[in-house]
């Protein structure tokens, strides 16, 4: 049985003038980690709110843990954990008070499901008497996850749980998600960190309210249609500018210490061009794309498509 199903879900705001989610259908299997990847305003948070029964769709149907999101909203609320994009715990309550509060609301106790939250809670315990508002980003996010887990939900909804969190805490956070997966908990998660996308079982790329592709991270990368190159020279910013004004270029953007480049022309032609501009210590090699490259390609296509830019 699928833990989450959506069929032809559409949601508009503002008396139907703003289309937030446009005819979206997909399924998430039990125990799967499914990543929703998309820019700000793509409709990710709206999907989360529809599935957690906080909004009602204009069209389409959806189920969570076998229940209909409209008819059986009360059952669903007891079966899901939800971490909204904005930190939404009580800032004036302590760590322990927050956790107790959420346990009580769900008719349970911290003790009852302690096994589930133990790994996370031991890290929070030294600060259990501190107010939630005084915690740092990484700790707030761990507390929020604890509060979302305290009633042992079947499905977890995590809306950008790691935004503003450092790389070490992010890594720990994902290790926890994988432990929860082993316990059979289904996870729908959105993120703006592309390295996290590769830690999902499947990812859906969403843009302008539409789901553009659903695939495993590996197959998303395999579907990248062009050859991709990494380029570098002593003057990386000058190289970026030069390549962007080269007519044989399809796309060129910074990526860590390299530029990532795709071409309309032959590799040799691009190399000669770079040489002609007087760059020194040039490196130019073909590479395997990352999920981030796939996503940037999709975004660029879209931006060219609707010609939104002024002048």
């Amino acid at each position: 049985m699928n833990a989450i199903t959506l069929s032809n879900i559409t949601k508009t705001y503002n008396r139907k003038t703003v289309l937030a989610v446009d005819d979206v259908s997909f399924e998430v299997g039990k125990g799967e980690i499914f990543g929703l990847i998309g820019p700000d305003g793509a409709g990710k948070s709206t999907l989360f709110r529809l599935l957690t029964t906080l909004l009602i769709a204009d069209k389409g149907t959806a189920t969570v843990a076998g229940h209909d999101v409209v008819k059986d909203f009360k059952e669903i609320r007891g079966l899901v954990g939800y971490m909204p994009g904005r930190f939404s715990l009580y800032q004036d309550l302590t760590v322990e008070e927050n956790l107790n509060f959420f346990a009580t609301v769900f008719n349970t106790t911290i003790k009852e499901n302690y096994e589930l939250i133990k790994d996370i809670y031991v890290q929070l315990e030294p600060f259990k008497n501190r107010r939630a508002g005084k915690l740092s980003g990484g700790m707030k996010q761990k507390l929020a996850l604890c509060c979302a887990l305290v009633h042992k939900p079947e499905v977890l909804f995590l809306d950008e749980p790691t935004t503003g969190v450092d790389v070490v805490s992010r890594k720990e956070f994902w290790e926890m998600l994988h432990r929860l997966k082993l316990l059979g908990i289904t996870i729908l998660v959105s993120t703006s960190y592309m390295d996290e996308a590769t830690r999902c079982d499947r990812i859906g790329l969403i843009l302008g309210g539409r789901l553009l592709s659903i695939n495993t991270p590996e197959d998303t990368i395999k579907a990248y249609p062009e050859k991709l190159y990494a380029a570098k020279s002593d003057g990386i910013y000058a190289l970026l500018k030069d390549l962007r004004s080269f007519e044989g270029i399809l796309s060129c953007y910074a990526f860590g210490e390299f530029l990532h480049v795709s071409l309309k022309c032959a590799e040799q032609e691009a190399l000669s061009y770079i040489q002609s501009k007087g760059h020194t210590h040039v490196e130019f090699k073909q590479i395997t794309p990352t999920v981030e490259d796939c996503f940037i390609r999709l975004l660029n296509q879209k931006n060219e498509g609707n010609g939104h830019k002024d002048e």
Binding site: G38, K171, Y253, G256
Partner: protein, 247 residues
């Protein structure tokens, strides 16, 4: 000789018993893009607030844009730009009104305000959105506008506290185009980020651990020093030694 625009010597901030920033000493040069990294809770925001004249240090020395962080905080504020982690534009004002408001605060003349507004709106491609409320713009646009407003008065230095948090990869790169452009014009960039690919875009990078600066070099120099291939790994190696819990 490179012109120094930020110079600190054993700069320290305590809150009670807690040493948030612990004797940091470093220099930043004019036109440099300086990456200021560290785990959550390492002391980055506290250090940045001292350098911006928003928080008086407990001890040590620092000079920013030629002014002292103890005695000349008002002068510092006039000579720097600051884009805080929390979004600082007025959501209920339009794009144009926000630009006019900040330009006015920074003392630009009416003529300068008009020219600057035109220039920014055209550069950011916001012609169609100029009269819309900032609250209705997507996050990426807000952040680009927020940066442009932070340098509307051509400051010597601009401080950016996690300017690209939560922004998609394409928009993050557009944001960095703006940063490069500003640095090219001689504005010094002091920036924090959790996206370590962005650390590579900086001329030099410092990494804070438990309130101290434990490493400072070019990205290539740091990778070499730690014998690893990426900035991610440099960061792991340092941040894992942290004793102070990210509280």
């Amino acid at each position: 000789m490179k012109e120094t625009v930020i110079k600190t010597n054993k700069l320290t901030k305590r809150f009670g018993d807690f040493v948030a920033v612990d004797e940091i000493s470093f220099e930043v040069h004019r036109g440099e893009i300086f990456g200021f990294l560290g785990a959550n809770g390492a002391g980055k925001t506290t250090a940045m607030r001292m350098l911006c004249g928003l928080s008086i240090p407990t001890s040590g020395e620092a000079n920013v844009a030629g002014f002292d962080v103890f005695r000349e905080t008002e002068e510092i504020k006039k000579n720097i730009g600051y884009m805080s982690q929390k979004f600082s534009l007025y959501e209920d004002l339009t794009v144009l009104e926000n630009i006019e408001f900040y330009a006015g605060i920074y003392g630009l003349t009416d003529k300068e305000i008009k020219d600057k507004s035109d220039e920014l709106i055209s550069k950011l491609g916001l012609r169609n959105e100029a009269k819309k409320l900032v609250g209705s713009l997507p996050l990426g646009w807000k952040q680009k506008l927020s940066f442009s407003v932070a340098i509307v008065h051509q400051p010597k230095i601009v401080f950016l506290d996690e300017p690209t948090g939560g922004v998609d990869p394409s928009m993050r790169r557009q944001f960095w185009d703006l940063i490069y452009d500003a640095a090219d014009k001689g504005i010094t960039i002091f920036v924090t980020t959790h996206y370590l690919d962005e650390a590579e875009y900086c001329n030099r990078v410092s990494i804070m651990v438990d309130g101290r600066i434990d490493a400072l070099d070019t990205p290539a120099g740091l990778r070499k020093q730690f014998g690893v291939g990426t900035m991610d790994e440099v960061f792991y190696k340092l941040a894992r030694q942290a004793k102070r819990s990210a509280d």
